[in-house]
């Protein structure tokens, strides 16, 4: 009898270990699927040279923004987006250098904290979680996303981080050295 009990316990422990292992593999698989499967194709629909679509929006401070007037850096943020919050300090620093009139931040979803942080350094457009009209004009489905818009109102560069954004081009576009 004791052997039987010991054997059952051993089997039970083995089964639980097996279950944990299976779930571990499942998680790993899923993480890979998230990286490759859910976002097929390039992250940015608009690359350098692409014209941006038509849109008109009003910032939190009441300034109108449209595809005709937009130049400089456009950043897409959304609520509950970890990477956006990680990038935020770098974005704010970049915005201080570039000047408020050269920065547009689009905040998807309700995130008062994010809007509050961005408002002093950039023009902020608050939109639905999907990003609203500005995101549609950029065909942007991903946050954080950064676009550099040249004087010709075409996309000059698209990046996922501030570091990837070409600052030299930016300085020329914005007319600042």
């Amino acid at each position: 009898m004791p052997y039987l009990a010991a054997a059952v316990v051993l089997l039970g422990v083995l089964c639980v270990l097996n279950l944990l292992l299976t779930i571990g593999i499942l998680r790993r698989m899923r993480a890979q699927g998230d990286r490759s499967g859910r976002h097929p194709g390039p992250l940015f629909a608009l690359g350098p040279g692409s014209p941006i679509g038509e849109f008109a929006a009003v910032t939190t401070t009441g300034e109108p923004v449209s595809h005709d007037t937009l130049t400089g850096t456009v950043g897409f943020f959304s609520a509950a987006c970890e990477a956006c919050h990680v990038m935020l300090p770098r974005f704010v620093e970049h915005a201080r250098q570039a000047g408020r009139e050269n920065m547009l931040a689009v905040v998807g979803g309700a995130d008062a904290e994010l809007v509050e942080t961005l408002t002093p350094v950039a023009r902020v457009v608050v939109a639905d979680l999907d990003g609203g009209p500005v995101a549609r004009a950029f065909q942007n489905t991903w946050t954080p996303a950064l676009y550099l818009v040249g004087d010709d109102h075409r996309v000059a560069a698209a990046a996922a981080t501030i570091e990837e954004l070409p600052t030299l081009t930016y300085d020329r576009v914005a007319g600042r050295g």
Partner: protein
């Protein structure tokens, strides 16, 4: 029936331990994810997050102390009912925010979470209504082990459902 109670207690306690620990590890992230799920005034987001985490941490403690196990079941049931309601409202409004149920997740809330929470609430009710007897140690161990396996399955529910949802 006392085994049912012990098994349910083990299951609910472990699920809430996993939930509370994952939320404490990334409390700010959890607090930030709340407004997308439920309509709360900005000033109340952090207190609400705090209340949820504390309640989740208290539930397993109550469940493992025999005289107050019933309160543990009741608290667990109330929490699960509240979460289920919040998810149901979010789904109806078309808000597909990720569920921070067990830590960082990219899975938006959906009907599957309603199914999961309803099942858990059912287990809490079942455990709470079962006769209050402490089973013999060997039986208790088997019931607790069954609860452990159930809890593992519930915590990784998203991964498991996703596996089958993807292949079909």
């Amino acid at each position: 029936m006392e085994y049912v109670r012990a098994g349910c207690a083990s299951l609910i306690a472990l699920v809430f331990v996993a939930s509370a620990v994952s939320k404490m590890r990334d409390f700010d992230g959890f607090a930030r994810s709340l407004p997308a799920l439920a309509t709360v005034r900005p000033g109340l987001v952090r207190p609400l997050a705090m209340v949820v985490v504390v309640a989740e941490a208290v539930t397993p403690v109550l469940l493992v102390i025999p005289p107050v196990t019933s309160y543990g079941f009741a608290l667990g049931f109330v929490l699960l009912a509240a979460f289920t309601t919040a998810i149901a409202v979010a789904v109806r409004r078309g808000r597909h925010a990720p569920c921070r149920c067990f830590g960082v997740s990219s899975t938006p809330v959906g009907p599957r979470h309603l199914v999961r929470n309803t099942a858990l609430a059912f287990m809490a009710a079942l455990g709470g209504l079962a006769p209050q007897q402490i089973p013999p140690p060997a039986g208790l161990a088997v019931a607790a082990a069954a609860g452990l396996i159930g809890a593992i399955l519930i915590v990784s529910f998203d991964d498991i459902v996703d596996l089958f949802a993807r292949s079909s």
